[in-house]
Amino acid sequence: MQIYVCVKHVPDTAATIRVIGGTGFDESVKFVMNPYDEYAVEQALRVRQQQGTGEVVVVSVGKPAAMSAIRSALAVGADRGILVKTDRQFLDSAVTSQALAKVIRQDGAPDLIFTGKQSVDTEGMQTHFRLAAALDLPVATDVAAFTMTDGKVVVEREIGGGTRESIEMTLPCVVGATRGLNEPRYPKLSDIMKARKKQVREMDLEELGVQPAPSGAPELVALEAAPERGEARMLLGTPREMAEQLLEHLRNEAKVL
């Protein structure tokens, strides 16, 4: 089994995001592997284990610092990595997905490609679909359960209201992972040390000769801190009186009832 996992290096969701210069942000905050990609890495390791053979290759497109996301995947057991370097955190997903498709195709013949369902910085929710289209493979996202038998994959995805859809796909295919798929393992200290010796190939995005999208790319014009609400208007009285007042305000003031 030749398995690829796409991981993105993103700001920790606990970090405070300070917008700088209209379209940038203070990048001195802590960065981590995109949380949904952790489920992708874990699932790849489980499949390799279940098959008893195979290779798990982690691929990332990002700034040179994205090496740390690759290293953390190697530390939990991935075999080797590929880092496609660029100087921008915000890349058009058409470009990212083409870069991923090209390096994967150059590197080997994928049986399975795992990604996350979305990156938590740009919340694009589409790189895996574009990657699948570029490689002409089937794809499913929001995957919360995965089984593989006889060259077929069955995934389950939640489609709202707790309703689950199960989809069968032929191999090779692309799978976008979400929370619930598995419990990602933690690295052991000794494995973190060993991971430093694992091979990571580096290249520049320019070397890949990725073509920009024919219709042009969406352009980030402004990044703004999301507006926060002010203090609540506190309602007074007994619980019954509060309930009464609340309905009154919701009907006549907020006009939401």
Binding site: T13, P138, E158, E165, G216, L220
Partner: protein, 321 residues
């Protein structure tokens, strides 16, 4: 004037209410030409509703190559063909679980730009507003001028606005083939109630303060009286009082209802990541220093076990039926 195709998400033959906001977005300042794209047959009631909300054309998408509901691959190819044939400037849809999937497939196949989970859209300027960094920032994104682009609109983020028009119905027959690589095998209904949390107009959510699964029954009664859905904080989900499909927040659902009533929820940043774009937020909490009171519209410092039943009772006595 722009020519806009809207992928309509149906539920058992009915147009889901959340589509109506997307139709309002598609009309923009009024002179856009709005096409409603419906997979399969569109029943009379559905037609009437689409017509009332400004769809000048309803296009029934059909194919003899397979079951659209069972093959996401085929559905995307068929819709992609329709989008090309009609020459839309923009394709819109709901950014629901199904809508996101479909739009991403279409955009990837056609290699056109896509922005999902948009909370604002200006078609004339080709500008969208969407969340970045788990809701901590808003990004204003300009779509390229020439060619087609696709946008998914967060359910309820844009208000429906009826604008009745004369509507023509036509059929689009696609010849696209199903690559035959994937098939939907089974759909299992969840325990999440009848109203989908992410599309609900009103959400009553419970946190650690709810104290147990029985407490959630009480919230359900209130939600029912409001014709809303029930949500939960991660603390309540982790405690096993509610399923993960009900979790609101950074690692759960993102909701944008008209009204969000948070019961026994302290107001963590991660919880707010999933509900801060609600139109009105109400907090019921016994602790006057709970952080949630610092960032919501109405605060009730009270025991939820007293306030929620009182609210349900008053709602029932006033609402007809």
């Amino acid at each position: 004037m722009a020519k806009v195709g809207v992928c309509i998400e149906m539920d058992r033959g009915e147009v889901k209410r959340a589509n109506l906001g997307v139709l309002a977005a598609a009309r923009g300042d009024g002179d856009n030409e709005v096409y409603a794209l419906v997979s399969g047959r569109c029943e009379d009631r559905a037609k009437a509703l689409l017509s009332e909300h400004g769809a000048r054309k309803i296009v029934e998408i059909s194919t003899e190559k397979g079951d659209l509901a069972a093959s996401p691959d085929l559905e995307a190819r068929v819709l992609g063909e329709a989008v090309k044939r009609y020459g839309f400037d923009l394709v819109l849809g709901l950014s629901s679980a199904r809508g996101k999937d479909l739009l991403a497939r279409i955009a990837a196949l056609m290699n056109i730009p896509l922005t999902l989970d948009c909370i604002g859209l200006d078609i004339r300027e080709r500008m969208v507003v969407k969340s970045h960094f788990s809701g901590k920032a808003l990004a204003r994104i300009k779509l390229p001028a020439g060619g087609c682009a696709a946008c998914g609109i967060r359910p309820n983020a844009i208000e429906p606005a009826p604008a009745p028009v004369e509507t023509e119905v036509e059929t689009f027959r696609s010849s696209a083939d199903d690559p035959g690589r994937m098939a939907v095998k089974e759909i299992r209904q969840g325990a999440g109630g009848e109203i989908d949390l992410t599309e609900a107009d009103i959400v009553v959510a419970g946190g650690r303060g709810v104290g147990g699964a029985e407490g959630f029954r009480m919230l359900e009664a209130c939600a029912e009286a409001l014709r809303g859905a029930v949500g939960a904080s991660r603390a309540a989900v982790d405690a096993g009082w509610a399923p993960h499909s009900m979790q609101v927040g950074q690692t759960g659902k993102t909701v944008s209802p008209r009204l969000y009533i948070a019961c026994g929820i302290s107001g963590s940043v991660q919880h707010f990541a999933g509900m801060k774009t609600a139109k009105a937020i109400v907090a019921i909490n016994t602790d006057k220093d709970a952080p949630i009171f610092g960032k919501c519209d109405y605060g009730l410092q009270a025991d939820l076990f007293e306030v929620v039943p009182a609210l349900t009772e008053k709602l029932k006595s006033r609402l007809p039926g």
